[in-house]
């Protein structure tokens, strides 16, 4: 699989994740979001940016509970509402979809 962004072919794996994460930029994020039928709003970017910042600091994707807590804090809502919000923004799940758009490694394990 590949994806053309600004005239450059970007390689994707069979699940549509970046083969070379170093290629990530905001235009690629937008193009990846498009493959997922996600229209990036400010709220989407807030999460994508948090994921990237967290990854840069810890070299791991945050557990969903940590992401949900962050979303709860940012939007002043409770845990259940924040999980709902995450799935509204990223319908195929924050681990699957948000990580893909943010250019993080593909989640592993029995997911």
């Amino acid at each position: 699989m590949s994806l053309e962004v600004n005239g450059v072919d970007i390689d994707l794996d069979e699940d549509g994740y970046l083969v070379d994460r170093n290629q990530w930029n905001e235009d690629i994020a937008l193009a990846l979001a498009k493959t997922e039928d996600v229209e990036m709003s400010e709220k989407h970017w807030e999460i994508v940016n948090f994921l990237r910042k967290y990854y840069e600091e810890y070299q791991i994707a945050p557990m969903v509970k940590i992401l949900a807590k962050e979303v709860a804090k940012l939007n002043n809502i409770d845990k259940r509402e924040s999980s709902k919000m995450l799935y509204n923004l990223f319908p195929s799940g924050p681990a699957k979809q948000a990580c893909k758009i943010a250019g993080l490694p593909k989640p592993t394990g029995c997911v």
Binding site: E14, D15, Y17, I60, M63, V64, K65, A68, R80, S83, Y87, P91, S92, G93, P94, A95, K96, K100, K106, P107, T108, G109, C110, V111
Partner: protein, 393 residues
Amino acid sequence: MSASETPLLDELLKGPWPSFVKEMKEMADTKPMVRDVLRQLEKSYVDKKTHWKHGGIVGVKGYGGGIIGRYSDSPDEFPGAAHFHTVRVNQPAGWFYSSQALRDLCDIFEKYGSGLTNMHGSTGDIILLGTTTDELEPIFSALTEKGWDLGGSGSALRTPSCCVGPARCEWAMFDCLDVCHELTHFYQDEIHRPGFPYKFKIKVSGCPNDCVSSIARADFSIIGTWKDQIQINQEEMRKYVEEGANPLTSAVLLCPTRAIEWDGKEITIDNENCVRCMQCINAFPRALKPGKERGATILLGAKAPIVQGALFSSVLIPFMEIEPPYEEVRDLLERIWDVWDDHGENKERIGELVERMGKGEFLDQIGVEPDVQMVFHPRENPYVFYDEYYEET
């Protein structure tokens, strides 16, 4: 499909036990994807290694789980096996079906996938073994149209399961099917949208025979028990003896606490010493029945070896009445999940958290009083973390 393509697998068509190769070959006639999966499997039998690629992240909209992505590591050689994803479908409680419901499922599986299933997966789901990414949304619509939904996967509540329970067993101490069904429906969000540190399994067994292996396999085990006296019907006991049964070798000598006596005419049971193991009841179901004050023991923390070693569930609540709407069970579950949410590390099962934290501290955290029945014996080592001490005034 011609026999010559899979000579090693064809060896497994022989012999009396039903053959999975036959199941696959029958589908290969109409499904090219199954033919390629068989050819790939033959290759594994030749070179003694798997040819499925690591991982795979696919799914349906709105769900974080329920589908396991699977790709061939040799898609050029086996194009039909390139995508071969698993769809987990939440089974009905107790694995009861009408033939009509199963036929509906078969039609869906044949139309949108390989036509191969696992009845059932280890956690209890109905497994559709093999479909492509493009078919996931269509299969999901077809399933929900007929009243089926996906099961759990990833760091989520996995599909709960239960034994046959009161539907067909005289030893069910509570309505296992109803608890299983109600918890499944109450926690749809926890099943479909992974938000836990790792997987969490609930298994419900109606009695200590534990036909769903809850104590070995569930993070949260609900196992039926009773508090009062075993009900004895002496006449039926004597009938068993007339029929040739031997109470000595089938009950008295096998009782783990030597709580039973048989004097040739009557059976007596020292109920205060009975540990509710079921042996005598298993051996003489007409004559001996569990007591009337029934409920369940709640045990916590079972898992297979990865990462910190295998664990059995251990006693958390020695006795709980299990009555609809199961608020007490849910309240306990949610307190456990809250503590896990606060303290659990990535991919740490609840049993491992209890091990790391210490059961005593964990009990404090979830607000459950310690009980001597939670341990086989009190501690042997003197390394105690005392909370209380006096200061000189």
